[in-house]
Amino acid sequence: MINLKRGTVDPRKLKTRTMSLFQKGFFMLLLLVGVVVSAQQNITGTITDEAGVPLPGVNVVIKGTNDGVSSDFDGNYTIKAEADDVIVFSFIGFVDQEVSVGNNSNINVLLVASFDELDEVIVTTGYGQSRKRDLTGAIAQIRTETITRANPLQAAASLQGQVAGVNITKVKGRPGDGFDINIRGLNNFDADKTAPLVVVDGIMGANLNSINPSDIQTIDVLKDASSTAVYGSRGANGVIIVTTKKGATGKANVTYNGYYGIRTKSHMPEFMDSKQYYDLYSNEKFGRGFTAQEEYNVNNGITTDWVDLITQDAVQQNHTVAVSGGSEKTSYNFSAAYLEEGGLTNHTDYERLSLNAGVESQISDNVKVGFTSYITQSDRNWGSTEALRSALRSRPTGTVFFDDIVEPNKRDTNYGPVGPYAFFMGIDDSQVINPLIEIDPQNFQRRQKANSILANVFAEIKLADGLKFKTSYSAYETTAREGDYRGTFTKSQKGSNNPKVDTWNYKTSNYTLDNTLNYNKTFGKHRIDATALFSIFEQYDEYMQIQVEDLAYRSLWHNTGSGATIKAYNTNLIESSLASYMGRVNYTFNDKYLLTVTGRYDGASQLATDNKWAFFPSAALGWRLSEESFIEDLDVFSSLKLRVSYGEVGNNASISPYATQSNIYQTVYDFDGSAANGYSINSLSNRGLVWERSREVNFGLDFALKNIGIRGSIEIYKRNTEDLILDDKLPTSTGFDSAIANVGEIENSGVEITLNTVNVSKGDFKWSSDLTFTANKDKVIKLAGGITEDKGNGRFVGESVRAYYTYKFEGIWQTDEATEAAVYGQVPGQVKLADLNDDDKINSDDRTIVGKGTPDWTAGLRNQISYKNWDMSFFMYTRRGLMYSNAYLNATYGDISSDRYNRSSELNYWTATNPSNEYFSPLTGPGLNGNNESKGGNTRVALSYQMADFVRISDITFGYSLPQNILDELGVSRLRIYGQVQNPFVFSDFLSFDPEYNSGGDNDDLPAMTVLFGVNLNF
């Protein structure tokens, strides 16, 4: 339909077609809710694709009307029609079909896949929807298929490498941990201020982690400022709009999606065994020495792999059952889901239960109402937050069980066994205790139980033809209780102090009230879609903490009153609010020229009276070149669109509540036995704070090539963020560490390329690929006060936002450089730093920018191959040009010149016979060591700045869909079984637990591979 050639089309028909397309969009907008039709005859039928697979969700509309239904999960539909009606069947990714009703009461339809129809995808643009072909801004979408295909534990993970311009980084490896998301680079120096706005079913500020990925219909990522301008002051970091699945009319559909898998730690860096460890550290240069028991273990070939002892293969499973259906006027959907993410560290796991319900009803011709609720309960069990660190550090020469100690030292015998275990492991060190004791839930537990509720109610009133008013109220509330219990036999209680407990309660609630007026009308070649919005938002964060010590018994956090010593208690409240007016007009001329103009006027409580309100405008143009004859004549493009946009947006997240006020806080002291609590000033106030503002220009090109299966998008953008709001570190002689201020300007510019190709499509065999490529360059444009460098805050004009300003590693002093090394007080084997000013000493003047913590580019490639009922896909992901200060090397494992703890066995360290330039000698140490920033932080840190490039095969999936004849026998409409391997391969030179997540391993950050099996079942 889009590629209909000019001249072959009846203009009247074209218009009708346009209408029908609009209607299709409209139906998607209404989330597949049926509309009243007056009918004389029930037409039924089944819709399938070329392979005979039933197609659910196909739009079935009487041509020239708004009357329509959609097919159910078996591809069945029922619609009332008259004999002279024409029924239009349309579905994303397929060519529309029109069938005249005539005398037929049963019409079965076979839809033919169309590569170009992706243009018809409905994209959520915020306070509205649009067809992709009508978009003028940079918005990317991933759909339920893509989300569920990767089986992510958290929805955010499904964006990784799938959407150009979106950078997803895991924070910690503990079960239930989320991800950092940033879109188009870092718009602020502070990583906490670069998170995009997440909108779940219209609710701003919801937590993406509380949504079960299987419940998500689409995730739309609004990237450029013209797209996010509808969110005004909250749009600077991009917007992620999550739309959950909604009901469809027709008979009840039941689906089950589930998998069960096992996570196993893999790609682990190697640690020393007892022999390696003893051989290295029994050298007299090392002072600590070995106990007789340790020597016994070494001599008898006993190595204790502590990490192995406290880790396990962990279950990862997710089961979702969903029911949806409805009558002509009312649709409903329910789903229930259970997720379990076992932790690799023993006694840790995460469980999440999601309950989802929605109903929508056309209660009169002009009024539609709906209600949805989404409830999540989660239980995060962190277990012991110390055990893994202890296990990673403990010497391999240690002994697990007390009875296995044949040469007890006095530390062991003095203390005696704890359970069956040796408290000090037969090692002469009291800093770390036996990890198996530390990890026992009887001794150490940290746990968080959280609930969240997302609810929305709306009423939509059709006021006149094309004019609708919608009022929508959304509430979000999340509460969490966290407790941390430490018994006597933990490192923190040293085996001698009574148990202690710390417990916190958090509550966040917010509501959003949106009143929207929408006008949508076509006049000849002109189409207008205008939206006006008034919105208010309020957020309320509460916090409570109690910490007590000397518990009489193990009551966890359920009897703080029994603690003899109260260490702390506190409550707190933070409130913020936002009021907004927004207007947007989309104008389309001749389906060829597109214009979007947006303005949002936002007022925020966080700023001082004179600076509360700000206006954020944007404008965008689109030109569907493929509708022009000179392009059509080329006969190359089936679709071609050029876009250009400009927008201004703010970063509400950057302004902490009360930052403009000079608040006081309580100080604690004691005068002769009486509490002497006072009050002092918390922070410097800054009433002059103004909105942080991003201005962005975006050029976009969407194209699809004829005949060869390639389509894609290219985005080029430049975004300047001015008046960055940040905690600016101050010279401490002011008496303050920092002050919140507008500190400067950052620029992010880049290119994003998305390519979807069908490489082979022959008969039953199909191979397609999706490629994303993102290159972003971030740099500081200017700093407040006109300075060009701010070393203390690590900000440098012309450099990356995450520039590393430190000492430059130049290798290792070699034997023949002894004289030169001596100038710096060093010896061969130690770390050589660049003496940049050649003054024969290393001091703070020798710092320079050695690299940056943002990537040059990232790319993701998914390949999908299907043959008959078999399907296979794999996903590769790479990131280049990012440097880390390697946390693995900086942790104790890299501290090879000290013999206290176990060390990495993979370090290519210097010896007289191995003139390595990579790592220092264990015998000499790195040199210029110590807790001393001006000496290179110590030289060990200097050598840890390394490139962390990697290529990862994220997942490989094999699936098999049962053929129709078997399905018919089983009475199901679809049954696919699959197996998947997650994270099977990582290629990198970066020695660490995982090159992607710079981790010292303490937080269950052990790399894992998951093997799982799953079922997709539709009744």
Partner: protein, 620 residues
């Protein structure tokens, strides 16, 4: 033609439009109210501190940071003749180990954490004092006398911190009003100007402050006098000719010291100043609170509490509890015992011994170990088993010993009575069922089954019984000024030419603390004639004629050990390099200390953050 129905429908639509528009109108009304920011949990400084009650609360905020400030002891105790960052004296010439801050090695740079930590917390405290001073005039309906007293307390506090800062760094910033803008320019003010300001402020404070504070723990008139005595004494020495000092300053120092002495009589026994405890933990008869930290001798002390909440160590807003809280003095010194047989490890029987400050070998030799009660109080000479340790093998081939709880397991001999081999432990071929370590083995002894290597006696002057095991938790006040020091200030001032002492000459002041320690003027007080060597010859440290600066420094070592004064004392008296090199094996071994080390480097964190160029102290 429209039907009636259609017209009604049309009207309904118009109504709906009106309703919708009015809804929009209604909801768009009161955004002013919506966007009003009111902090329920917090008050703003302007509204709170202008009330008399708020101002009184503000005045309580100028004390808590003292707890943090006095914990910054690495620049005060270590790097002197008395304390070093490590023991292992036999390794003190090892060049690879000798780069540390406390040996004035290559790590003593502008980036050292210890340097910036002290700087930061001092200026935080100065700003807190300035907040009070700047806001005193804004109090509505306040009691003028009370406000004047609080301002005087703040001036005392600001002076205390500025004085520490100017001694450490020389010319430093001198903010005298509350910081209200994010100014990033840092200006160093000449030391002489700072001393002049200190004297102006302290003189004003002395006038306004009461002799007895409304709350024990607040600054008093005597505290201001004591600080004035220190400031005048220091200015009199006129470090590097830059403090604007004259000989007249010594007379002032003496005069203020006399005032402190008059109002704060010494307690009878040195041990009465510190927590009571038994040396044998299995026979511990004392608990916290058995000794009152309040007494006539204490002029000003940092307050601690037996309530965990008010004993918290707070560095910043929001951080209600930081570390373990409480006084940490009891756990910082060297010589741990958790490696001896009969020690269950980490328990509060012997509490924590972190070894941040190791006593140098010479310090023991400055005492008369028999007669000077301070020696016995300050050092643990005998270590006892806390749990049974049956079948303990002292050394290979030696018959096992059944150690019982309460048995002696480790004895440190006095410097002047070393044990012969036969009188030593079975671990080294002796006859005793416990290890015996002679003074010449302190800090260098090899490991034996009885103990780890480099063993030294615990310095437990500040040790508190019965508190929880950990890095803090101490409940006993930490003394900042007590009148014993005033005697030694007076003695020093007279040595430097001050006249008019109320008690007489330098020796009259000097002997007061010596005589109290040994129990009277007739009891001998004999230290090693040569504190640095190992010879057993002795010499009296009672003054009989001329008092020298070295005598005063030795007596300050005995009397005020660990009380946060040493580096300042040595710097003031121009003895740091000489005495540290002679008595601290690590400083002697590294031999890197130079005259420029008498000033610390301006912290890198400060110069990196300032928009103007800050001149760094010479040498760094």
């Amino acid at each position: 033609m429209k039907s009636l129905k259609e017209i009604i429908i049309q009207m309904k639509k118009i109504n709906q439009i009106l309703i919708a528009l009015s809804l929009v109108f209604v909801f768009s009304c009161d955004t002013e109210d919506l966007l009003m920011e009111e902090a329920v949990s917090n008050q703003t400084a302007d509204s709170f501190f202008s009330t008399p009650a708020g101002f009184e609360d503000l005045s309580k905020s100028i004390y808590p940071l003292l707890r943090v400030i006095i914990e910054q002891r690495e620049l005060v105790l270590n790097g002197t003749d008395l304390f070093a960052g490590s023991s292992s004296w036999d390794q003190s010439t090892n060049a690879l180990l000798n780069n540390r801050i406390d040996t004035y090695g290559s790590e003593l740079t502008d980036g050292a954490g210890a340097i910036s930590d002290l700087w930061t917390v001092l200026y935080k405290q100065i700003n807190r004092s300035n907040i009070l001073i700047s806001r005193a005039n804004d109090v509505i309906d306040g009691d003028a006398t009370l406000i004047a007293t609080r301002v005087a307390e703040a001036k005392f506090m600001r002076s205390l911190c500025l004085f520490w800062a100017v001694q450490q760094w020389g010319d430093v910033p001198m903010p005298l009003a509350e910081t209200t803008a994010a100014n990033k320019e840092v200006t160093r003010v000449a030391s002489s100007e700072i001393y002049a300001q200190l004297i102006t402020d302290l003189t004003a404070a002395e006038t306004a402050l009461p002799s007895t504070a409304s709350d024990y723990g607040r600054a008093t008139k005597s505290a201001a006098q004591h600080l004035l005595a220190r400031v005048y004494l220091t200015r009199g020495w006129n470090f590097d000719g830059k403090l604007g000092g004259t000989t007249a300053d010594f007379t002032q120092a003496l005069s203020y010291a006399d005032k402190v002495i008059a109002s704060h009589p010494l307690v009878t026994n040195y041990a009465d100043l510190w927590p009571k405890r038994s040396e044998d933990p299995t026979n511990q008869t004392f608990g916290p609170g058995d000794q009152d930290a309040k007494n006539s001798e204490v002029v000003f002390a940092v307050q601690y509490s037996d309530q965990a909440i008010t004993n918290a160590l707070q560095t910043d807003a929001g951080a209600v509890v930081n570390n373990d809280g409480g006084n940490n003095l009891h756990g910082l010194f060297g010589g741990g015992v958790d490696d001896v047989p009969g020690s269950p490890g980490r328990t509060s029987d012997y509490n924590r011994v972190l070894g941040v400050h190791h006593t140098t070998p010479a310090i023991y030799r400055l005492f008369d170990p028999i007669n000077d009660t301070r020696y016995h109080h300050n050092f643990v000479e005998k270590v006892y088993a806390v749990v049974d340790n049956a079948g303990f093998v002292p050394a290979e081939g030696v018959t096992p010993i059944d150690i019982k709880s309460g048995d002696l397991v480790l004895e440190f001999r006095d410097w002047n009575s070393p044990a012969a081999t036969a009188d030593k432990g079975k671990d080294v071929g002796g006859t005793k069922d416990y290890a015996v370590i002679n003074h010449d083995e302190y800090g260098i002894v090899d490991e034996s089954n009885f103990h780890g290597q480099d063993k030294t006696p615990m310095m437990w002057k500040f040790w508190e019984p019965g508190i929880a095991y950990g890095n803090g938790f101490g409940e006993f006040d930490a003394v900042v000024m007590r009148s014993a020091e005033a005697y030694l200030i007076a003695a020093e001032a007279i040595v430097k030419g001050a006249t008019g002492g109320a008690l007489g000459g330098a020796s009259d002041y000097y002997n007061k603390t010596v005589d109290r320690a040994v129990g009277g003027a007739s009891v001998p007080a004999n230290q090693a004639a040569d504190p640095v060597g190992t010879a057993l010859t002795t010499a009296s440290y009672r003054a009989t004629g001329t008092v020298t600066i070295d005598m005063i420094l030795n007596e300050r070592a005995r009397e005020l050990m660990g009380e946060g004064l040493r580096w300042y004392d040595l710097k003031r008296t121009e003895k740091l390099i000489e005495r540290a090199k002679a008595m601290n094996p690590w400083i002697k071994g590294s031999n890197t200390i130079q005259s420029y080390h008498l000033l610390r480097p301006i912290p890198l964190t400060e110069s990196d953050l300032s928009t103007n160029e800050i001149t760094q102290n010479t040498g760094y």
